[in-house]
Amino acid sequence: MQIDHVVCAFCGCVCDDLTVTLEDGRVTGVKQACALGRAWLLGHSAEADQPPALIDGQPASLEEAVEVAAQILSQARYPLIYGLSSTYCEAQRQAVALADLLGATIDCCTSVCHGPSGIAMQVVGEPTCTLGEVKNRADLLIYWGSNPAESHPLHFARYAVTPKGLFIPRGRKDRTVVLVDVRPTASARAADIFLQIKPGRDFECLWALRALIRGLDLEESAVADTGLTLAQLQDLAGRMKSCRFGVLFVGQGLTQSRGKQMNTAAAFMLVRDLYAHTKFAVIPMRGHGNVTGIDNVLSWQTGYPFGVNFSRGYPRFNPGEFTAVDVLGRGEADAALIVASDPVATLPRVAARRLAQIPTVALDTHGSETTKVARVVITTAPAGISAEGTIYRMDNVPLRLRKFLPSPYPSDEEVLGRIVERVTQLRARN
């Protein structure tokens, strides 16, 4: 059987024109996907290849696991709910409902990738656009601290560099592509111009560009420690001012290096300044699957995009206080629920270690470093393959993930819903 227009939930590109072939309850063919998407889609079957749940490493039923999970979370004084990037919005809504019910802290992968972009937006705003505007209009693309060739493999071909668009009749030929990074990454091949800056000097470069775009005269010495010459910066500033529609893509090289939200704020302000000359947009290269979705769900349900604490009965936001790395690193969280992510593999060691010390409940489609240390593991159906729901592309465009392969496992939404229900009962009893 062949299924068209399949939406890929693996990275922020959310390509929605894949074709999947199914034979005997397995995905046997995937067309139009990149290697990452293909591997993700091929990695699942309709058969049960792992127990529905584990409690202390021993196989258990879903009912038993939900019960223990609900007990753990409702007995905790400072529970943390974390992850949620690789699941769909309907499940994310249940997770926020659970956090609200428990008075928990809830955080998502944003806090360790594009949290600084979110903070910059709260400080200065954000002039942006959807990816179709890039395809249809952008004649200048600047990638800063971002390596889409590896993180978003089809980004160049689908949205930005090569496609022809409404006002870009010749595709690649009508665009200039600039890559700014601390080393020549795989994305450098796609660029016309590669500018290698010194590590940790993003802010200085961006600030120098702002000055040049405002028409200030800079001395060579003012940019001496950026790794770029004044001439290189002047050239870039000139291109930014004279393009018709420019787009600055900012990646984790910018958000996770020295300066963090100051870097992204500088990038956003630079783009804002360019409105005096032309049309420009900035787009954060949001990574994982539906990390943009949890950002949105948290914002509409609580007002804040990540790092939300409900311990006073209403949502509070304070990055550094209520973000997972900090809540775990300081040893505050005394139980955790991890959904669709692998923090033990990705968070700093002290935070990961805490997850092993406290009772942790993990929902995932497959084993991970986190499921290895978790007290309760519940296997769930993969989003966009065996579970359906809403996903937000990195530019906030919502799409519907479909279910085309049956699964022996319940969806994240269902499991979270059952935990919510059980915790509600336990609360009512007390």
């Binding site: 979110g118 705003g125 942006t128 179709g132 505007e133 018709r244 007002g303 936001f317 919502p398």
Partner: protein
């Protein structure tokens, strides 16, 4: 079943003006008798249909970006969870749950989201579904849509009509929204239009052509609500002229001019900025095909958010505040700028006066509705303050004394002595909006209507009265009592399905596949998932 007895009933659609009579409900509807069931003794109370928010920004990508960018706003108002209700935050950009509870606590039971981009329709619905209690719907942005401009440029009215019908169905939307027609299209290159005859960029069609064609489409499709227009040059001195020209352009086709306050200014610059309300009101008084809503300014913080990208950029330049812009491929744009209306600012004072002038100068209350264009002019929870300003001229005069003298010198407000009656308040907050929206089961208390009812104590201070209804009833069940939410349940979503010739899909597919970045097949919303509690409102073709 429910019986409300001894109340003073204001039900303008049924001509009931303060008479004491019973109101009964069964199975979510108003019925003529309810022999048993709960009885509410509304002695000394006012009974009205549930309020209808005619135009507010409460759900979707733009609203959510507003929430995201304004943590400082949320810290002004925290709403703790209760065993019945979810927690949330306020103030100008409340979270979804808080939005539903807040409206219900004010006696409102229906809200229309004023502007959603088709590409973001799923997002609009996801948020609408997380707004508890209220019934809702959303207006679909079309005034700068690629295919709308294209079919107008090609003079292909039949296709235009089919496309609009297709788009309404693809989005689960309710009405045609037009924002700065042609201007937003040119904004995609950083420009704007400023007359009704300046062309768009993608296709050489003018605001005049866009408005007139869509007004005809609305009529021919028999959509329940008229075109809903945010005129060109919003916020700019002298813009009352283009507002008048827009109304003139459609001749006697029905048109709704939204947040008319923001489009009701005279003058040539900020120096001679003054009210243009008398001219607009005079036109509205003469033309029964026109309705407007106030877009009243409330002094204090607001979050301005519109699809009018160039205006929001201009407001950023004027204010220096943080600024979000988001251009949406093929369809529209959006901008957000936090702002604060100050009593001591001459321009703000005039803006405040203009909204009130419109409400007082337009003689027919059925054609002017109470809005703040939430959260642009002010947050919706300021409605009780505005109602008091309309009901009580002494109070109004007192407030006018306390604001910048510009409001007295550059508007006619001080000369307006009209006072609204409770009957008229019921018109501009429920009966009128229901009629203009074509929601026949809303806004009245006749048998068959939805049993959405607000019961207020008759307090000496109308602000207190309207800020805290004694009972709010939604679909026959009490949802709020004395300002407390006592029941949390989902509301329904209204949509229209006017029908179209399937050929339209092949007519747009080519360009769609070339210029959008989502598949044609993945564009329409899945009704079962995004409109789980839906009600189709019928279209009546002429």
């Amino acid at each position: 079943m429910l019986r409300i007895i001894n109340g003073e009933v204001y039900d303008p659609l049924n001509g009931v003006n303060g008479e004491v009579r019973d109101v009964c409900a069964a199975d979510g509807k108003i019925v003529s008798e309810a022999p048993d069931g709960k009885v509410i003794d509304a002695q000394g109370m006012v009974v009205m249909p549930g309020g209808i928010e005619f135009h507010a920004h409460v759900a979707g990508g733009k609203v959510n970006a507003g929430r995201k960018m304004r943590p400082e706003d949320h810290r002004e108002m925290a709403i703790p969870r209760t065993p019945l209700t979810r927690s949330g935050v306020g103030h100008t950009v409340p979270s979804t749950f808080a939005t539903g509870y807040h409206f219900a606590q004010l006696g409102y039971t229906t809200v229309m989201e004023a502007a959603g981009p088709p590409l973001g329709a799923r997002h609009v619905h996801e948020e609408l579904n997380d707004i508890p209690i209220l019934d809702k719907g959303f207006f679909v942005l079309m005034g700068n849509n690629y295919f709308v401009l294209k079919f107008i440029a090609e003079g292909d009215f039949a296709r235009l009509k089919d496309y609009v019908a297709w788009l309404l169905e693809a989005t689960g939307g309710y009405a045609i929204k037009i924002v700065n027609p042609a201007g937003v299209d040119t904004w995609k290159w950083g420009r704007n239009v400023n007359s009704l005859d300046d062309p768009a960029d993608t296709f050489p069609v003018t605001p005049r052509q866009i408005v007139v064609n869509l007004a005809r489409v609305q009529q021919e499709l028999g959509l329940p609500h008229t075109i809903h227009v945010h005129c060109n040059n919003l916020g700019v001195p002298g813009n009352a002229q283009i507002t008048l020209q827009t109304m003139q352009a459609v001749g006697d086709l029905p048109i709704h001019v939204t947040h008319a306050q923001f489009n009701g200014y005279g003058g040539t610059g900020w120096g001679d900025f003054h009210s243009g309300a008398p001219e607009l009101a005079a036109y509205v008084n003469e033309h029964k095909n026109v309705t407007v809503d106030m877009g009243q300014v409330v002094f204090g913080p607001v979050t301005t958010m519109t699809a009018d990208g160039p205006w929001q950029y201009r407001l950023y330049q004027l204010s220096g505040h943080k600024w979000v812009n988001c251009d949406v491929e093929m369809e529209t744009s959006a901008g957000i700028v936090p702002y604060r209306f100050s009593k001591r600012n001459a321009v703000n004072a005039v803006q405040w006066a203009v909204g009130l002038e419109l409400a007082l100068l337009i003689e027919d209350p059925w054609r002017v509705f109470l809005t703040t264009d939430h959260p642009n002019g002010g947050p919706f929870h300021a409605y009780p303050d505005i109602i008091k300003l309309l009901l009580d001229r002494d109070h109004r005069a007192e407030v006018l004394e306390g604001v910048h003298r510009g409001a007295q010198k550059r508007s006619s407000l001080k000369d307006l002595h009209r006072e609204y009656s409770l009957f008229e308040i019921a018109i501009i907050t429920r009966a009128g909006p229901a009629r203009a929206l074509g929601l026949r089961q809303k806004g009245h208390l006749g048998p068959g209507a939805d049993a959405d009812i607000a019961i207020y104590s008759k307090a000496a201070d109308p602000k207190e009265m309207f800020a805290r209804p004694r009972y709010v009833i939604k679909a026959g069940e009490i949802v709020a009592q004395d300002g407390r939410i006592v029941q949390d349940k989902p509301g329904r979503t209204f949509y229209v399905a006017p029908g179209y010739d399937r050929q339209i899909e092949s007519a747009i597919r080519d360009d769609f596949e070339k210029y959008y970045t989502v598949s044609f097949e993945n564009y329409p919303v899945q009704f079962d998932h995004y409109l789980p509690h839906r009600v189709a409102v019928s279209c009546v073709r002429e």
